[in-house]
Subunit: 341 residues, 4 copies
């Protein structure tokens, strides 16, 4: 059985493991004060083109989201998200557990724009009987594989700024977004256009780890306290630092994203050739083909994937995810298996 169910089925990219071994017995300060973390932060500051950025490494995406959102919002403030947004759909109420409502917007493409936000602002105007929308949360790539274009993100950023809203971008799959064929954003653009975002490591070749980037460090000058308080500060911060060092010292981070996308696009092209349509318009590593149920049944004997939703009596959409480690041979086999009857 080959696993197309997610992009965290394997361990880490071999270069990362190698670096962990090489540095293993070098003594370092704890709690993120190690030299590897410091160096990795320098690399990232260069890539985001912001020497003033504040960067923190943490273990996972839900942790990141709850740390950032709960730190930046006051008690009565709320965050706006697409209904498909990870913080609303797959994090067990992590944001509400920190005291804040997630206000959702229904979308067809998983993306949020000024119009949707304006409607929320109008619905949430009866001060003080309603929460105050204060932050917009977006994912890039989104939970359904779509990405933001530079114009879209710029318009959103402008709208947020003019409406005193913070813009937070969840980059669990940022590598895949920024290396998609249809992408026109750079990492520096993302940094310039958002207040805070994170660079996902877990889903792009790290054992674990996300890099939170506050583009405006005044937003959370005492974030270190919060990391510790919420149990997010690893004693051996080096574990995170070394991984991001390896991912960003050269272009490994982007190479891995590119591979994941290439594998997905290979599947996608083959599926389209067979005449299948897709639930969403994705050029990243998550694709949602709509297939006949018999084919799904047959494929599921050899491949693991997620059955996403029922389309009609005879068809369903499935989710196929590729990753930095997806074996092209498995992709080829899958494509062959499409043809067998």
């Amino acid at each position: 059985m080959y696993n197309f169910k997610n992009d965290y089925s394997e361990g880490a990219h071999p270069s990362i493991l190698k670096r962990l071994m090489e540095t293993n017995l070098v003594q370092q300060q704890g709690y993120g004060e190690d030299e590897y973390s410091a160096k990795a932060k320098e690399f990232i500051k260069q890539r985001v083109n912001n020497p003033e950025a504040s960067i923190y490494f943490v273990s996972g995406g839900t942790q990141t989201n709850l740390l950032v959102i709960s730190t930046l919002l006051k008690a009565h403030e709320a965050v706006i998200s697409a209904r498909t947004g990870h913080i609303f759909s797959h994090e067990t109420g992590a944001i509400e557990a920190t005291g804040h409502r997630v206000i959702t917007i229904d979308t067809s493409d998983g993306k949020i724009g000024p119009l949707g936000i304006e409607k929320v602002l109008s619905e949430y105007s009866l001060r003080p009987h309603v929460v105050k929308p204060k932050m917009v949360y977006i994912s890039n790539s989104t939970e359904i594989g779509t990405i933001y274009g530079k114009d879209e993100l710029a318009a959103l950023a402008e709208f947020c700024e003019s409406h005193d809203l913070l813009l937070f971008l969840d980059g669990a799959r940022l590598a895949q977004a920024l290396t998609a064929e249809n992408n026109d954003l750079t990492l520096a653009d993302v940094a310039r256009l958002t207040d805070v975002f994170y660079i996902g490591g877990t889903k792009n070749g790290a054992l674990l780890g996300e890099a939170i980037v506050f583009n405006k460090p005044d937003l959370a000058p005492e974030f270190d306290y919060v990391l510790k308080q919420k149990g997010a500060l690893l004693a051996k911060g080096r574990v995170l630092g070394i991984q991001f060092l390896e991912l960003f010292k050269d272009d490994l981070y982007f190479e891995l994203g590119r591979h994941a996308n290439r594998m997905a696009m290979k599947l996608s092209v083959a599926l389209k050739k067979k005449g299948y349509s897709f639930l969403t318009d994705s050029m990243t590593n998550q694709i949602f083909p709509i297939l006949p149920n018999e084919l799904i049944a047959r494929l599921s004997k050899k491949y693991l994937f997620y059955e996403w939703c029922v389309i009609d009596d005879g068809h369903s959409a499935i989710r196929l995810i590729t990753s930095w480690s997806t074996d092209e041979k498995a992709v080829d086999r899958f494509i062959e298996d499409l043809s067998i009857s």
Copy 2:
């Protein structure tokens, strides 16, 4: 400079890294549903002699403490801890941040007994104007290196049970406690005498990781939800599972604790020979010798350690910590350096 400042200055025991490499590309389910985690839990259940135990792997000690305590306490309930207890002294109010008071007991040896708890219960009796003490938190070994004997722990357990108090043992340094020369507890004893405890990995050779053991699984039948909600559920749970598998498939966990203790005792014996006394009575890997300030100044040029507290005009106590990876040669050099004038 050799670092005696803590037991998390290095990476992981080489066997652990080796296993991470060997298993790296084997595809596994995410979120702790991997085979390595399952196998590691089996090993631990055997060691704690409780096939019914519920075991969860998380990243760090503060995370563990806040997860366990906030899950087991109701809103108006509080936890009792020694004033030196990690949850009170070094976790940035992590427990209060989940809504619960930490009621402290002053101790000389870092340990809690029935008498101290009885005093708390009497002080907190004016229902409903005070919180309700409901849990006792202890550390073994304690934050100042001392350990609980079997009689002590049994007496505490009996007191807690008869007073409807939960007993939670923080085992960040449980390996060191259970392998100390003066120890008479087994891992199975700890499991039998507490409601819940954790087995520390971070401070005993893992990159990161603690194993939470609910000896009475009814206490938290839906703990998995809470792990996810608080950002503690790693997508690649295999990272934790593989490490505990390696630590517990044979006796590695105890061997590493024993080495740490042996290094500390070597230092301790040498310091005693020189006539120095100690702030606490520790036979584990944290020792607190009281030294002349000039000696401290001299040593601090070659070794990193924590200056713990001032004793008098001419003397201070320092903290020396050894670990699974402490190089015996560094210990020998330190001992030699004690004699040079």
Copy 3:
């Protein structure tokens, strides 16, 4: 200007004020331990036909909702509400502020039934990545004036019980619901069919005050602690006890609800005679007639009311609320003013 904007524009029913004066200097225990509160609880237990009920008096509806919901839910559990439900629409995220998601169901009549809940249960099934729905919150009368029939409530109760869901009824306007012409529920029915509910005082003649009734006292045996912790325990609990004593020693509570409804129905009949339709089918003290904008403009010079929503270019729905203290002469004047052109 006569105020039809809400049912809390005046003080208290004169009998309540009279009783406050008569008892004013009688010394009593504080914090709800006074004799008046005890007696009022006895009266309510008789009316709900449950000698085992646990009753607590608090100041307001939002306070009640957050106390009950946060006490009965565990960290990872959520409450289901109509989208129009007060906890979602008008309480400033009070429930989320205690850590819990409010899962909403879109409805046309403000009421929840088994079908809507089943859909939620199916959407929230991916343990542990989603919250666990555990409670159903309903209002009777609802925020748009509708009420539950006995069959409806019984079906809901049965569904909840068979799906391990708690049923909580917000009775901010319970008097108006139970005295509506189309009502077939008794207070004892409400108590029998829900796990917990509250009897609203603020919107039915009290200065302030709601009575929380736990029909199954085991649900929250230590609720007194929580009241104090959340700032809901009045030092002079007598203020609440005396008011509920007066409301329930005879039938005052129901008389006041009946008056409010009669005034609304008088308005309703007159509006229907004029040919106006209504946004919702209400026989309680909140009605939502759809009127021409010119008429609304004219009426708003003499009456205060809430413009609820735009219907089309020429029409809007307004909300008219009557209360225990609505002056029938004002109602008559309003009706007359409908005819003037």
Copy 4:
């Protein structure tokens, strides 16, 4: 039995009830937007000599404390209090329930000074492993009857300002403090020297109600949201407004405090004449005489009071509290009863 147990045994001062009756049927806006609240706030702004002050009326002291403290502190910040402080000793962990540690200082007189705070700051310096002390909470009068002099409060205020600490004064018994014989503070002094404080109504003649005064309104510009979210915003805000209007339109507030003190001092003088000493040096309405146990036993047959603590085998301290409504005849009888053998 006459009750000297607390200062909330009766209802409200008759003038307050009279005003509630007179205004009862005047229609008003809800949620604190009524004219009485507005007028009462004007009166208070004049008395505190700060036209910019932001004032909010809420129901009780614990509610006030948790609202103010949780609004002004960030997640990782803590409040410093005397160990006898109400927030630590008698509020069921209300502050911790909002996520913040209460750091305590042991005192003999219930008061905090710069020295005590400095010690705390030094103990809480290991960023980010400890919470950050950010607010100082004091009570005036204190929970043991003592008061702050102008010099003391000024020194404290200066220390707080220079150390970036907020100063919050709990004025549950502020009337009694400001009318004590040994007092040299005015209400305007209190406002000038603190960041925020509250004027207690419940313990000085109101049915319920405290007035929160933000002397620096920038501290909490959106406090209205928080009031609603935490269930503290009464629909009939007039109930609070009318009471404070009556207390502050003339000098009623201070007259009531003065009466309470006078009654206590009459008891105090008589007790001193009999040769009894006191646990604390109080010139306000709470006194703590140390009496022979037989006398306590005899008095307790005719009077309710709190047995505070055991002094020695034969003696205990009791707490006698007088109030705005204490009957001087009861005081005289108590004094007579001291002499009977």
